[in-house]
């Protein structure tokens, strides 16, 4: 009997766990079909961006490019430069808003997550419960009151209108707090306290370096939501509008802009995707602790 078990165990370690080869092959094929469904539209985005106009309108449509060109991008650039706001200004706006909001979000979320996870104080549980609840409804619910509040604070039509709400991302705080549960040993904090370090020093010198993998995760989530914002309704001045707004104006220009529109789709896709590819292992590291614990 015991021998039987040993035999069985040996078989596991040799052949992996309970797997049949046929099943594995079948599952992998299904996975490939799904992957094709996911990636095909994106491949069209990429190839269209480099197609000359006659290839974009070729019948039947082709997935690949025969004569790749960067005409779409140069056309887009000249279209943009003919507007009275220089193209670089929109890029600056988007980069500035995204960078500041993401930076503030990481600092604020880490500070809050630290005390919520590692300290005892009245109100801690109810505050976190509110944060989890806020993950459960979409931001569309709060859009109108947000406008009213910003109006009374006098920050409509300033960069703050886009930066401040993004800095208070409940998703960021949530992921950061869950990540701290496993990544910061309490013993280290205790030792630092015994050595007489104050809380701010502990936070800055010990906690922040330890949660570095989570920064990247917050960056990708913040990046993807802020990069996609058009600032509609919150920013009126042309000089402060983000890139996505300007690009959308190009896309709605009709059929003559098809090439430029393809370039726009590519430009919007590239930055978030690049950030994700570079930081994938760090992000998965953070997401491992993302679960909701009762």
């Amino acid at each position: 009997m015991a021998k039987n078990k040993e035999k069985k165990l040996k078989r596991i370690s040799r052949a992996g766990l309970a797997r049949s080869v046929g099943g594995s092959v079948f599952n992998f094929l299904v996975l490939c079909v799904i992957a094709a469904f996911m990636v095909l539209p994106l491949l069209y985005v990429v190839s269209n961006a480099f197609k000359p106009l006659d290839e974009i309108f070729v019948y039947p449509p082709r997935l690949y490019v025969i004569n790749p060109t960067i005409d779409n991008f140069t056309n887009l650039a000249s279209l943009m430069s003919s507007s009275w706001i220089p193209f670089s200004r929109y890029i600056f706006n988007s980069v500035f808003i995204t960078a500041v909001a993401t930076f503030l979000q990481i600092i604020f979320a880490s500070m809050a997550a630290y005390v919520l996870e590692k300290r005892e104080f009245p109100g801690r549980k109810i505050f976190f419960k509110l944060v989890v609840t806020s993950l459960m409804f979409s931001t569309a619910v709060t859009a109108i009151p947000n406008y009213i509040i910003m109006n009374s604070l006098g920050i409509v039509n300033t960069y703050f209108a886009l930066i401040l709400p993004a800095a208070a991302s409940s998703m960021g705080l949530y992921l950061m707090k869950q990540f701290m549960t496993t990544s910061i040993p309490n013993a280290v904090l205790e030792a630092a306290r015994v050595d007489g370090a104050n809380e701010f020093l502990i936070f800055w010198r010990i906690v922040m370096p330890l949660v570095k993998p989570a920064w990247l995760t917050l960056i990708i989530f913040a990046f993807q939501s802020i990069w996609a914002t058009t600032g509609n309704g919150l920013i009126y001045s042309e000089t402060m509008k983000p890139l996505n707004y300007a690009l959308n104006q190009v896309v709605t220009g009709g059929i003559s802009r098809t090439g430029s529109a393809a370039a726009v789709a590519f430009i919007m896709l590239l930055p978030p995707l690049t950030v994700f590819i570079i930081s994938q292992s760090n992000i998965l590291n953070t997401m491992a602790s993302s679960g909701i614990k009762e």
Partner: protein
């Protein structure tokens, strides 16, 4: 006597809490930057929304209290809302579960692959959810004329003679929104599953195997899923919130409002009254209804998931 004791213990409790708060006052300083913004832009807006939902606020005049009039109009007299509600529910019921189980199954199968393949697959599967502006490609795919990728495909294989009016025929619109949303549904929840599967203790599988588990499905059901319950709950929140947030896809594909309101969702309706007609009071009523719906469904699903395996 008894009541006295209770009052005393309550008083003591309060004093203890107050002492604790005083002793840890620095915690509130750490919490303050996030906390103030969170209260200003998330907590207060919910209450403001509920409040203005009972008024006829229109941005120009001072809001007047109208009681339940907005709710009455919304639930009884607003046929477009009924349509939007129907569409939202259809989308949510399909996209929510489909996105959730697809995330889980795909993450599970990706976990079987080696590291390089896994990294490639995760990127491919996750990419659509962060593609943002790239969603415009679906307009080409479903384009009404024979240059549309699907029309072109169907015509060259002889399935149809004339191009199908995918983007203007009302009977296809909801399906198209659902397809695009499913395409984009492998988001944060999916990453949570992929990461969670990696952390399941390997020795559990060996123990389970000795206990008679002999297929990968049994392994999934008896070992893997119970040990990643927290991730399953997080993924559920992400799926539900995403599924009920349909609106942007519809606007991008068909404009707002879509022909005959065929792809009109609650969020489209909300944006219509809030952003176009400036009937903010009524828009807040819509927002409140959506808020209550999303919280209620999330809570119900959380309760159900909590029961699984316990």
């Amino acid at each position: 006597m008894n009541g006295n004791l209770k009052a005393l213990s309550f008083k003591e409790k309060m004093k203890y809490q107050l002492d604790l708060a005083k002793k840890n006052y620095d915690c509130y300083l750490f919490l303050a930057p996030f906390g103030l913004l969170f209260i200003a832009f998330v907590v207060m807006p919910v209450f403001i929304s509920i409040f203005f939902g009972f008024t006829d606020y229109n941005l120009l005049e001072a809001p007047g209290f109208v009681g339940l009039q907005n709710y009455q109009k919304l639930l009884v007299n607003d046929e477009i809302f009924t349509q939007a509600f129907r569409n939202t529910m259809i989308i949510a019921v399909v996209v929510g579960p489909l996105g959730y189980f697809a995330s889980l199954m795909i993450a599970w199968q990706i976990n079987e692959l080696n590291n390089v393949l896994r990294a490639i697959m995760v990127t491919i599967m996750y990419a659509p959810s962060i593609s943002g502006g790239a969603i415009v490609i679906w307009q080409y795919i479903f384009s009404n004329d024979s240059y549309g990728y699907i029309n072109s495909f169907l015509m060259s294989w002889g399935f149809i003679q004339e191009p199908i009016q995918f983007l203007s025929d009302t009977k296809y619109m909801l399906t198209i929104v659902i397809i695009v949303m499913v395409w984009m549904s492998l988001g944060a929840g999916f990453l949570s599953f992929v990461a969670g599967l990696k952390t399941v203790d390997k020795s559990q599988y060996e123990a389970g195997y000795i206990d008679g588990i002999n297929s990968r499905w049994q392994e999934l059901w008896f070992i893997t899923l119970p040990s990643m319950k927290p991730q399953l709950m997080f993924g559920a929140v992400m799926s539900i919130t995403n599924a009920f947030s349909a609106g942007a896809v519809s606007t991008q594909m068909f404009g707002s409002p879509s022909t005959d309101y065929a792809a009109h969702t609650i969020i489209n309706h909300l944006e219509d009254y809030g952003g176009v007609r400036f009937e903010l009071g009524y828009a807040c009523t819509i927002a409140t209804v959506l808020f209550v719906m999303m919280i209620a469904i999330n809570e119900i699903i959380q309760r159900l998931l909590n029961k699984v395996g316990s």
